[in-house]
Subunit: 313 residues, 3 copies
Amino acid sequence: MKHFIHTGEFSRSELETLLHNAIANKGLRSNVLAGKSIGLLFFNSSLRTRSSFEVAIAQLGGHPVTLEVGSGVWNLEFREGAVMNADKSEHIKDAARVLSRYFDALCVRSFPGLKNLAEDMQDPIVEAFRKYASIPVINMESALYHPCQAMADMLTIRERFGKTEGVKVALSWAYHIKALPTSVANSFAVAAHQFGCDVTIVAPEGYVLPAAVMNQLGNVKLSHDLNELKKQDVVYAKSWGSLENYGVPAPESLKSWMIDLDKLGPATFMHCMPLRRNVEIADDVMDSGQNACYDQAENRLHVQKEIIRMVMG
Amino acid sequence: MKHFIHTGEFSRSELETLLHNAIANKGLRSNVLAGKSIGLLFFNSSLRTRSSFEVAIAQLGGHPVTLEVGSGVWNLEFREGAVMNADKSEHIKDAARVLSRYFDALCVRSFPGLKNLAEDMQDPIVEAFRKYASIPVINMESALYHPCQAMADMLTIRERFGKTEGVKVALSWAYHIKALPTSVANSFAVAAHQFGCDVTIVAPEGYVLPAAVMNQLGNVKLSHDLNELKKQDVVYAKSWGSLENYGVPAPESLKSWMIDLDKLGPATFMHCMPLRRNVEIADDVMDSGQNACYDQAENRLHVQKEIIRMVMG
Amino acid sequence: MKHFIHTGEFSRSELETLLHNAIANKGLRSNVLAGKSIGLLFFNSSLRTRSSFEVAIAQLGGHPVTLEVGSGVWNLEFREGAVMNADKSEHIKDAARVLSRYFDALCVRSFPGLKNLAEDMQDPIVEAFRKYASIPVINMESALYHPCQAMADMLTIRERFGKTEGVKVALSWAYHIKALPTSVANSFAVAAHQFGCDVTIVAPEGYVLPAAVMNQLGNVKLSHDLNELKKQDVVYAKSWGSLENYGVPAPESLKSWMIDLDKLGPATFMHCMPLRRNVEIADDVMDSGQNACYDQAENRLHVQKEIIRMVMG
């Protein structure tokens, strides 16, 4: 059984094959999923992920079924042995086993609760589906990882620079009015390291990635200095919340971490979106020719078609 | 015009043909619904029903359109002659006639309101669709009945025991923190009687099924003693609310009606799901080899494909 | 790039061709959209629009992806240069560009906010999609227009009277408990004028259509007298809110504007639905043979298939 939950579970060679196929098969329509149905289970909102997965499945000839937990679909419990006398009507143990009887693969989006750090670090929801589903599980962004985004990011860098090896990329923390998950930052950093990029993480003091992620990054460079951005080929901006003050929004003093053209310098700009203009990122960056965000978004479609084909054999 | 609203409206022979075809056509893909669209109208949440109907329709080559009343779709009035100056924007009379112009069949889920017993006993919403739609209507669980579940249940018993005739089944009331509809219990009891099972209803005093349902059950056995469960081939657990204290949750003193392996004995365990582990049903039952719930869930898909084919000729 | 946002942007000859094709191709199934996906983006609820667009796309062999803003999809900002530090997570600039990478066309429903008249008169949301999308945009009802409804209305008149030229139609204001948009009334009046109908607007004093719409209507007749209805071939009833007391419901003294058979006289009755029975329209009209509403609703499907084919070349 193959799942796609974290790029770190695949070799660089396997991931390179995915990128290679994604480029080769852009625009391809096929019937490899004829007669097959894939469930898309959302615990959280989505625009890109939902659209690109539905279109990917349709372009492969399959049928997507989109399910929204808590809105149309019962709330789901994930704790083992729970006495379910509160707001959850069904256990993931049961939901995963049932959905495995209907679908040929299951894609899951489940953000972290941002209340209990230790629990979130276990990536409990997507891991419960991995454990109890008997069909391939694809991670559409979990508490810890967003591997489909990271593969789209790698494809975008490959297309812009003809390579990923040695490309200088900064993961730059950005201000946001809410405390956000670390998942996109985690997966980008891990994948960039796997693909041989020269990675620098630029963030205010106290804004670190989880230790379990840092351990996968080798001798990654760390900086608190936004001037580092001007030395890069790529600046990947992303807000994430403090792990110390977990779930607490950043202080307003960090508003100055919004990326504008002046801070960006000549680098290609990347972001997973959605993003808040003039809070995280200034209009001048978004509306400039340096903005690669729309290509990243499009590349979601191309890589996901290959991820689906890979896990489904 | 054929509808599928209650198994009691079909002969045993018709229902046996459905089961026969469901077994014969498991896994079949076809194009009998090519160019056809089927509406799935949900007044209430769903995981199994929504997934299994969407997949069933896709496997038959048709296009499912899922609509959620009150979330994306206007709230619907069902009372004849209503002066619609409150929270309902459209009448089922009109919605049913309009949807009949777009779809080739319409599947409806509408739980009881649990406030007005006399009104719920009329099964007003699904009956309004039967009255005003000019296309086949399939009941995806109404105030009174859940016939697709009951057919999946009969298929599960048939597969486990090679027959339904004479199989000893207990419908066992289970504790729940909410007052639930009687629909699943009603349809299971009626279908089990139609298929010749030896039915016993085991429930606390005061937890009865509606008289209109009891009248369809012949000389069904009634018991208040959980020790009856150990004498059965099948224990079908299901919570339902009191008809006397309508809409009021069961007293905590009935928590002891949770089914665990000790109460279950050697019987095959069945439940329609969703279920609250360690409230309705103990983990030891759910995670045991006696649990047939996942087969029941899968059989939803198989029987529904045949129900759709039957009503659409 | 062709969009379908307002009938006034098309010549009568282009619109006549649409109607001609809609009649000729009723019931047709095709594969012109094979391998293509169309996004259906809803900022507001829908029954007819959602169902008829999904079915239209499926009948043409394409794949519809339905997205609900604010429920499953991020809330979207439309103001240029906004500092996005409030409740909107993404800008339409970005959403439109991203969705253009996935879909082959985008259909948008966005009612007016009914708080800021000047802003609503700019039709800001659908116009932002027109500006930033790089794929055809179809208006599924905006702040100002509902052109798909108007085309279905014209088709219905054509079918009932064999022509539209010279057919006497009254657009009759109807009472409603809420202040409603003018979009349906605007598009009906404009299209009826474009198709040569003899149009009278019958409304209480103070209930006018926007000046920008009136300017498109030539020498349209205006009346405050419900007795005008009895002189018509068609009465098209529709409530809309006051532009002076913008967003404020009509006074109860206007309840007498509910249309019943007595007021209607011998005319064919039309309404876009949804409608509140016995508030806007009496049961006696809805359940009479003069009611053409269900044909109007069905004609949505037929005209939309042609609108999709037209904008997609």
